[in-house]
Subunit: 380 residues, 2 copies
């Protein structure tokens, strides 16, 4: 994708907004939806936004220089990704007026690709050994099958999920509530550094920003929005985990909860969600992945087009250029689709990761059940 | 209720049918539904039933004398209860063509009243210590609140349920797959004898009849049919417990399943049923009783009239004669309803047990939320 002048102006405005606005602020979000980022920033600075908090928002802009934003990101080993960038996970747009303006990302992987094939494993800090073991083993299984395990880096279930994925040599993404250079909790310094090395560390707050109570809640919505499904391993009632769960429900993303002994207080939230029909019971990762398949196989056509909507415009063009039967070489597909080979390979990578196409000796072909996850081996 | 000559003839025919027909035989059941018990027996004996197995059915009648049936029941400390008797649990008619013709009942309590306020607690023989503890403690709680705990006397969950209810000084009913004098498993001789002493032992097979594979399955349908709700504590897939569960679903009776650790094979059946929406997750007896309340409070008028349909004709008359507000003495209600005081007290006992009416110093009144279970004390 070649950036246009308009994209560049939008990008600078989005960076400014990411510095001005608290994550999840829907009032400003609606303004940006209505006017676009450039005009929204102008209105906020000119005091013509009509928002009560306009002055404090404008004040936050003092000293924010788009060029410096990039260099500060680089200084802490991160990059800035906005809605107009190729690495932007487009499913975040499901957050609507609460969608983030920019993400700071540390780690070698591509956030967009990682998120397309990701599951959130979250739960209580005060978890039981049983919950910790479920989080660890399921995350290891998911990671071994090529799924990105997304969590919040907290004590308990979150840490067990990250560690399970790392132990399996897989990819895990840690979404922080403070800046990407502000690991929290501090006791997880080393864990979070290892995740940045082998996976991805992500934040929607600029570097240096401290964690705050409200930011944990907005971070939780981001975990649900980034992933294909959210699995709650253990949760007491009225916990931060419940906020993540509610966010998943609000976006119509699959929410699953792991049962446990009815005698364990750590499982009460999970049991309540299942009993009340908010979450689907998950007794294994097959239940998790089966639900994703179900959404695709048994879903109404509307659901299938939702899946297509999650693709970028370029990916949709490439998909449409694929032959209905048989394989095609990259070169022929480049001709058929009108994209350069390098551009094409980027799109094919995304389409392969999400199970739309597969590659073999003959070249590229539509996946057996296009839209279904790629074959899982070694499992009943 | 005064027995008519027709009732007596029906009763004798039902006793004969109970000796001729295997429990749950729908072919004969449909015949009886269509022609009534007297005519159905005549057709079976006269070879005019059109059933293939007619000869073997008729042969089974040799030597069955209705008067002897009663004395043989008495000899093993039991009584025979048929559809035309006051003690018959009318909810068994929900089994339609598979409804039993007679029940042999040992124990001092009234089966009909006990069943009106009953919950089935069933599960795997090969259960875990966790499952056994849940069955024991929930049954004790239910029994302490005046609920009859119904189960099948088997090893594992069943036995824990009976023992929990007994330990709480409550009522428990054991439904046997063989005759009421054929305790099974033999290792539970003493347990089943104690249940007969303090609760109820019930069978639809005549005394002396052995247990058979098919009779366990038909016994399981009886457990679901007798009770207000069935709770599966632990169950592997493809187990006898699943038959009980399916019977509950087929009759639209609430089915609940207790979750457990996902690492426990004994909980797989429960998790599967909850995941697939066949059973509601139960994390406490409040979930069980709450579901019964829900059916009554939130139910459509149709549900409420279902509840009324479960009452006997006499109970409905008594209920209609109750004043809408305030209390009424037994004597005044006798005048208003047209029943003799003794008859009336029998009906009022049933209506009180099922939460339609309550008694205080002033006399009888409609329960606060008529149709709701009576007050549960000492619980959050």
């Amino acid at each position: 994708m070649t950036a246009t002048a308009g994209d560049l102006a939008d990008r600078q405005a989005l960076l400014l907004l990411a510095h001005m606005v608290e994550p999840g602020d829907r009032q400003v979000g609606r303004l940006v939806r209505r006017w676009g980022p450039v005009e929204a920033v102008r209105k906020l600075v000119d005091a013509s936004s009509g928002l009560r908090q306009q002055e404090s928002l404008a004040a936050r802009l003092t000293g924010v220089e788009p060029r410096e934003v990039e260099s500060r990101a680089t200084a802490c080993g991160a990059r800035v990704v906005t809605r107009v960038d190729r690495e932007w996970p487009s499913q975040l747009d499901d957050l609507d007026a609460a969608a983030p303006y920019a993400l700071w990302v540390a780690g070698a992987g591509d956030l967009r690709l990682a998120a397309l094939r990701s599951v959130a494993i979250v739960g209580a800090r005060a978890c039981s050994m049983y919950g910790e073991e479920v989080a660890r083993s399921w995350s290891a299984e998911l990671a071994a099958e090529g799924w990105t395990v997304v969590s919040g880096g907290a004590f308990g279930i979150d840490a067990a999920a990250h560690r399970g994925a790392l132990a399996a040599g897989g990819v895990t993404a840690c979404i922080l509530a403070g800046g990407v250079d502000v690991p929290y909790p501090r006791a997880h310094d080393a864990l979070i550094a290892r995740i940045a090395d082998e996976g991805l560390v992500v934040s929607e707050s600029p570097p240096g920003e401290a964690v705050r109570r409200q930011r944990f809640l907005s971070r939780n919505r981001l975990i649900s929005a980034l992933t294909r499904a959210t699995v709650v391993v253990e949760a007491a009632e009225r916990s931060g985990t419940m906020a993540t769960a509610q966010a998943a429900v609000a976006m119509n993303r699959p929410l699953l909860a792991v049962p446990g002994p009815v005698t364990s207080p750590a499982s009460t939230g999970c049991h309540r969600m299942v009993r009340d029909g908010e979450a689907v019971l998950a007794a294994s990762i097959d239940d998790v992945l089966g639900l994703l398949d179900l959404g695709r196989d048994a879903g109404a056509p509307a659901k299938r087009s939702d899946e297509r909507d999650a693709l970028s415009a370029q990916e949709r063009c490439v998909l449409d250029a694929m032959p209905g039967r048989g394989a095609v070489t990259t070169e022929r597909l480049a001709v058929a689709s009108g994209f350069a080979v390098l551009e094409l390979l980027g799109s094919l990578g995304g389409l392969e990761a999400t199970g739309w196409v597969q590659q073999d000796a003959q070249g590229w072909r539509l996946a057996a059940r296009s839209g279904t996850r790629t074959t899982r081996t070694g499992r009943a």
